[in-house]
Amino acid sequence: MSRYKVILTSFLICFFIITCRLFYWQVIKSSEYGSKATNQTYKMNINKATRGQIYSSDEFPLTVNQTDYLISIYKPNLKDDLESVYQKIDQIHPSFIQQNQDVLNTFKKNDRQKWIDLNTLFNKTESDQIAQIPGVSIKQLKSRYYPEDTLAKNILGFISKDSQGNYIGYGGLESYYNKQLQGKTGFFWGPQDGTGKTILTKKSWNLPSSDGNNLYTSINRGIQYLVEKTITEGVEKYQADSGSVSIMESDTGRIIAMASISATSSATPSASRNPAISDLFEPGSIFKPIIMTMALDQKSIDTDFICTECSHPRTIGEYTIGNWDNSLHPDSTLKDIIKNSDNIGMSYIMTQLGLDNFLKYYKKLGLNQKTGIDLQGESRPTMKSNWPEIDLATASFGQGIVVTQINMLRAFNTIANNGMLVQPTVVDYYTNYLNNKFTPKRKSTQQIFSPESIVKMKDILKYAVENGVVNQFRPKNLEVCAKSGTAQVAVKGSYTDSVTIASYIGFTPCNNPKFTMIVTINNPRSSPWGSSTAAPIWYDLASKINRLL
């Protein structure tokens, strides 16, 4: 009987202990172990969205997504010796050993190093073959591929990893439209079996990823290629430091091509910087038609204006205003002033216009602010608040004021576009993963100059081209309204003749123009003048582009 009691008591004690333990696990520690169990069976999978692509105006992909493969070698899992593994990989991907010589030798010699990640990129076929080698593991790497190589790189920008390891765009369209291009990351959180397969019967959460939007740009890749080739040859021919070209569709502001080239490859702007929108420069004489249009529109002058004071240099305080070739043109008309690029005549027109009107039009033309072009990295031009008489006079021929190339092109385009100011744009529309079409928000166009004053100005520009020194470059069948400029560059606070920015800006034909184009050549050594460096490039391009549009 006592034995029975002992056994029964033991059973009861054991039962009590087990009950206490179960109470501890199931009640007190229930939430902790519950979440541990969920973590073991439920797994989170991140579904990364595919980045949207960028297309040219003919819907050719300027960027393509590609998957590369990286390999890692883990010594303990190797079945062959390391050297023969290297040889096998080298047979699949020639020059593999050569590319990784030092790293592979160190890995081979160091017995304590068990694992190595290699930077060589393999394609799909190669990675499939390498995956068969025991001890070698494969990792996918998403990247961008550019079928046209470096074409339009300043416009496109590039992608790279940020501090958190996510791919983001830098410069150009990749950065400006990063949000639209990158899409939305999705996830799946649900129970999985031991082999990692989803168990369908249990509750799961799934948010599908949505791929990034595809951008359709106004960039004409044929013209872009032509522009890059021509400006490269031009920079070399005129022994310049660099050069930029921007071309805009006159009535819409759509950018057809934009390129910047440096003489030395080391100085060539990276894809994250676009000099056409980021570099500020003094426009020089290409600014004269804008001032003259302001004066005509304000009715400060009319086409019967005669510069009676143009027979001698103009003196303002301690400064003397003369012409670029020290020539004098007495009794110049407006046509003569533009044709001869007469600084003296322009300074008197500016006096007629007055500071208030000048500043009114300057602001209306948006020359004191960003154009709002849909590219990352646009600079905002600075504008001084104090305008002594001499500064106002020099501003009449584009000295003492700074603009970006895109600012200048947009302002000059108002003459081409019957006085209407347009917003320059690169992206026409974008499509989402459901192929729905969206148009980015745009500023509405503004009438800055009256059509009457534009007709007068176009007539002056046409006359200046057909009777000026640049006419030798103009193909006979090409009607052009344009102006050359040679701006002195301020070095250490004073202007120097040794460094100039030569430029040419214009549109063709004069009525209902197809495009407006600006060419700037920085520091040309063969000749400092815009009329003999930027102008030939402009006409060469214009005659070809005219047939392509």
Binding site: T50, F60, P61, V64, N65, Q66, T67, K124, Y145, P147, E148, D149, L151, D193, K197, T198, I199, L200, T201, R221, G222, Y225, S543, K544, R547
Partner: protein, 83 residues
């Protein structure tokens, strides 16, 4: 009476085992199908990506330049107007 209960319990147990067997086999088939489809989608995505890359490569101006001597390329400066 107890016999009836025991038989009922045994039959329902066997029924449950058979039901579970077929049901789980269906789940396993669906799971494996899902997994296979997912692998196929991934492969097709990579294939499409690769084909896009090849197609754009072959129709690029860059490819034309590399495959044709530049001296033999001439800008077309003639135009034809068809009425």
């Amino acid at each position: 009476m107890p016999k009836f209960f025991i038989v009922t319990i045994v039959i329902s147990l066997i029924g449950q085992i058979i039901f579970s067997f077929f049901y789980s086999s269906q789940i396993l088939t669906q799971n494996s199908q899902l997994n296979q489809n997912q692998t196929e989608i991934n492969q097709l995505t990579l294939e499409i990506e690769n084909l896009q890359k090849q197609a754009s490569d072959l129709s690029s101006i860059n490819h034309l330049n590399l495959s044709t001597p530049s001296a033999s390329l001439k800008f077309i400066d003639k135009s034809l107007t068809i009425y």
